[in-house]
Symmetry: C2
Subunit: 191 residues, 2 copies
């Protein structure tokens, strides 16, 4: 939908602002999303922002909604059809290591859970991911209660690993260490 226009065009749509917001979030986190800085980036004055959105919160929500609809469902579409839970768990962890924009946003959102709008979104995302993990564990032979617990543990270990791995100052895993760790997780968690 991007018209082949000059980079310094000054006529924008709400979608342009949302894309810009997601870029800022991916690069510098949710806290760095500022209307004035974003307006500078888009070569307009901050006043024009308010023709498109009621306020900063509305932009954040619209941007997060766009991310959930596009990137997030795209990721799920890739992982969900994997029938074997061992392969599925590995696919989830593998995604963490990749530097795709979608994961940078996911990581940024995990670090900004003190924003109510982020919490609401992440509640949906977490529930969805745990649900299909639980389904996989049932296919793999666990009963309903065990599958529920195991999916919670799996998703928690996934979220927690991202937190640990993305915390500055903590040594990041090498490629070999990461593979060995994922092997260990798979052997420990997958029946």
């Amino acid at each position: 939908m991007n018209p082949p226009s000059k980079p310094e065009r000054t006529r924008l749509t709400a979608e342009d602002w949302e894309h810009g917001a997601l870029e800022m979030i991916a690069e510098e986190g949710v806290g760095a999303l500022a209307i004035e800085a974003l307006a500078r980036r888009l070569n307009v004055t901050k006043g024009s922002f308010y023709w498109h959105f009621r306020n900063r919160e509305a932009l954040l929500q619209a941007a997060l909604q766009r991310w959930e609809n596009n990137d997030e469902t795209e990721v799920l579409a890739k992982i969900e059809p994997i029938a074997d839970p061992r392969q599925r768990l590995r696919a989830m962890f593998d995604f963490v290591a990749r530097e795709l924009p979608s994961h940078r946003i996911y990581a940024a959102l995990l670090m900004a859970l003190d924003h109510p709008a982020v919490q609401t979104l992440m509640a949906r995302v977490s529930e969805r991911r745990m649900d299909f993990l639980a389904a996989a564990y049932r296919e793999a032979g666990l009963d309903a209660a065990q599958a529920q617990h195991r999916s919670r543990l799996t998703y928690a270990s996934y979220v927690g690993f991202m937190q640990i791995n993305m915390t500055l100052g903590l040594p990041r895993l090498s490629h070999e260490e990461f593979d060995a760790y994922v092997d260990h997780v798979t052997e420990t968690l997958v029946p």
Copy 2:
């Protein structure tokens, strides 16, 4: 003569500001720590803040340092001497369920990892907790590499569980569900 109806004393120390900061963080999160609001709470003007601290960042760091020195080491002192790793893991998870101020701060910090000062602190905290988990797993018979992986997985599941459990909109576990979950985690992770 003393004016009798003045509500609180108006002579403060740096420590008073740090305690007030930790209260605000526990109640409303790191993002809600504002000098003006805190000054109102302490019945002084915001100008006086700058006699005690260079800026907001310095207050945040001093408050976090105080938390690490007091509450955090206190928690560790309770958990660290538990020899049996099964009991130790359970103790860690049990702490999550309690509503002590220290845990509210720990949870608030987990939700504000986009602040560099918080990241630096949490890197230390994570490393310390993983180190003594790894020691416990070695005592329990795992080799060094396995103990390292297992401690990472254990701490990740602990951090991730807090995240999931504290996300608004997600159904919180009942007391029975929590116990059953901790049983499941213990059986799955502890050799």
